[in-house]
């Protein structure tokens, strides 16, 4: 070890690496504050102008859509006549797809509750403030945990024939294996990119992927009796 007093003065301003700024002061120097200057603009008019502009463009697009496409309106509600399939609004079709495989307690209560709880705790759970790549430290242990979790999840999904959810999980798992076998020094840029991703990133990406696939399947590929249909062959 070198002389402990032999520090280098510097201001680290990368919040991701050091959320609390630490300044080391070497011997024979005094603490020095660097001017913290950054170009600023006034909220009025600069920000408000951009906000209004963005919202106006949005309004034009939506008005255009409202002129071109009509909102659906079917026959009056009839409790004696169940349409087949009875579909929820599109943003719930991912859950409805799960409902097809699992009992309502799981698909309708447990999964949504778990989703909300995980979303809420994401910023608190992230003890890994440095956002270091998942497999860059404790590689062996983390790989073990990863394999147990991933294989357990996949076996579970396949056992219940939830292939729609198993395929995205498998793809994410393969990407994680690639990440585990790469490092920030890897040759390929995408390997470098993946290797630096922390745990929270993987979980969220998996969630996003499942959300898109399940919602798309529920919206486009499900017909009478929740059977598999091809949208272009109806």
């Amino acid at each position: 070890m070198s002389d402990p007093k032999d520090f280098v003065a510097g201001v680290d301003s990368d919040q991701r690496r050091s959320p609390q700024r630490v300044v080391f002061v070497t011997r024979r120097t005094s603490a020095q504050v660097k001017a913290n200057y950054e170009e600023q603009v006034q909220t009025y008019p600069e920000v408000l102008f951009r906000v209004v502009l963005a919202i106006e463009i949005l309004a034009i697009v939506l008005v255009g859509m409202a002129l071109l496409f009509n909102a659906p309106l079917e026959g009056i509600a009839d409790p004696t006549h169940t349409p087949n399939p009875a579909k929820a609004p599109w943003y719930f079709l991912g859950l409805q797809e799960l409902l097809h495989y699992f009992p309502p307690v799981v698909a309708g209560v447990l999964v949504p509750t778990m989703l909300i709880v995980s979303l809420v705790i994401i910023p608190y759970f992230n003890i890994n403030i440095e956002a270091a790549g998942l497999f860059l430290h404790h590689r062996r242990r983390r790989l073990q945990i990863f394999y147990v979790t991933a294989i357990g999840l996949l076996v579970f999904l396949v056992a219940f024939h939830v292939y729609v959810a198993a395929v995205p999980s498998l793809i994410v798992a393969i990407a994680m294996i690639v990440a585990a076998n790469s490092s920030p020094q890897s040759k390929s840029a995408s390997c470098r990119y993946l290797s630096k991703k922390p745990m929270a990133w993987w979980v969220m990406t998996w969630f996003l992927f499942e959300l898109i696939v399940l919602t798309a399947v529920g919206t486009f590929f499900r017909g009478p009796g929740w059977s598999w249909v091809l949208p272009w062959r109806s």
Binding site: D12, E38, Q42, P45, A54, I55, A77, I116, P123
Partner: protein
């Protein structure tokens, strides 16, 4: 004559009445512009100045702003729709038909409300993922993320309660499928289901409950939380920018630090 209107405008803006309402007065100085934000109960949710980099399109894609935009369109079109809508069976459905064929621009109004609602759900998800992927949920913004999750839930509930109001087959059965899920909650499931619908199945009581939630309670809750959301952005030091200071030539950055330490 532009000169004359300008003069009249100036006189109005300097009148006692005007000045009693808008205290900041007329002018383009930094002070006047700061006061324009700071002296307004709504605008003072924002700080008077922001760092320029926060405005870059690539960091937010303005998704939060656009979500706000859809919400504003929804309030305006929603209030107009309320003028024609009765939350009762079977009048609700007849009102839909009236909007379609009788009310002038009724169809357009309904279309705009519907598509904006779908856009809002989409945008709120997009905004959430965008915030996540640029790491803006980390300290000190954790709590604003939580408020965001509340806003996400309110948005979904708004959309869900609105779905029933047309009282057509689509509405009825979507809500039936959805509300049946609540029965699966252990122990209290059927109680929740009854409370939500005001009965054992989707009926006129459910329509009225959903109407009250959709037009009163949930929009108020959304407004409240959006206000807190914006206030927190200001209090958390503005929007997240990747590094808190811009890279300058000669600035000590991490890589040089590491090199020197070796």
């Amino acid at each position: 004559m532009p000169g004359k209107t300008d003069k009249i405008l100036e006189q109005v803006e300097q009148s006692r009445v005007w000045r009693s309402i808008f205290r900041s007065g007329r002018g383009t100085s930094t002070l006047h512009r700061a006061l324009a934000i700071q002296q307004n109960v709504f605008l003072h949710l924002f700080s008077t100045k922001v760092r320029k980099r926060m405005l870059s399109v690539s960091s937010t894609w303005y998704l939060g702003t656009l979500t706000l935009g859809t919400f504003m369109i929804l309030i305006i079109t929603g209030v107009l729709l309320m003028l024609y809508y009765h939350p009762s069976v079977p009048q609700a459905y007849a009102d839909m038909k009236d909007l379609q064929f009788v009310v002038s621009s009724g169809l357009f109004l309904r279309n705009l409300h519907r598509w904006s609602a779908q856009a809002m759900v989409f945008l709120v998800f997009a905004h959430m993922f965008k915030v996540f992927y640029r790491g803006a949920y980390r300290a000190p913004r954790e709590f604003n993320w939580v408020i965001g999750v509340v806003l996400l839930l309110i948005t979904l509930l708004l959309s869900y309660t609105g779905y029933l109001l047309p009282w057509d087959q689509l509405a009825y059965w979507a809500i039936t499928v959805g509300s049946n899920l609540s029965k699966a909650v252990p122990l209290v499931g059927s109680k929740i289901h009854f409370l939500m619908l005001g009965g054992n199945q989707v009926n006129a009581n459910a329509l009225l409950r959903f109407y009250v939630l959709h037009c009163l309670i949930l929009p108020l809750a959304a407004l409240l939380f959006i206000a807190v959301h914006f206030w927190r952005i200001r209090k958390d030091g503005g929007l997240y920018v990747h590094q808190s200071e811009p890279k300058r030539a000669g600035a000590v950055d991490e890589s040089t630090l590491v090199k020197e330490a070796k």
